[in-house]
Symmetry: C2
Subunit: 119 residues, 2 copies
Amino acid sequence: MADHRDTGLTLDPKYDAAGLVTAVVVDPLGNPLMVAHMNDAALRLTIDSGEAHFWSRSRGRLWKKGETSGNVMRVIDLRIDCDQDAIWVVAEPAGPACHTGATSCFFRRIDGDRLVPVE
Amino acid sequence: MADHRDTGLTLDPKYDAAGLVTAVVVDPLGNPLMVAHMNDAALRLTIDSGEAHFWSRSRGRLWKKGETSGNVMRVIDLRIDCDQDAIWVVAEPAGPACHTGATSCFFRRIDGDRLVPVE
């Protein structure tokens, strides 16, 4: 099953049918911030600018995180997984990552069928 | 845009058209291990057994991580994001997470158009 994507040293993202890869963002301590998607343009802008860009599926457009809120994410490290369909973004956030105002989108723990706030 | 999923305390995953949510797995120190997918059965088994289960898109079947390799992932913490379409799994891995044998699937850093090994 391994191919050049799994072991090579060339960036060759495996975009899905919608042209997207998954993007996971954590803070410099490894705390989860958010999960979103990038298309080719968003990944390119993220690499070139050092600030996290995404593709908004709900709005159907390119989106620089913090473009309205000011809560930009300065990229510290950028990795890609074995089959190159997921990007790992370590970033310093200028403010809350979540649209709810929470520091992280992952502000609830799963406990059976219930959710428990962690902040 | 906020609905009960964003702020409520009921587990109500927003599965995509294929019946899947994104599952991100990190080790107890917050180091990235892998990104995969869960369907309802995989999430339920993960919650109930305390071991990470996924839906394999390539094999089209439920998959307990480590079922053949022995490298099971014991779940320490399980979180869900604001819109409930991504699961954050903190797990203690019994061995390498990646099918390449690497500790983590994210063993390459993106540097422009090149990838640089991080292990």
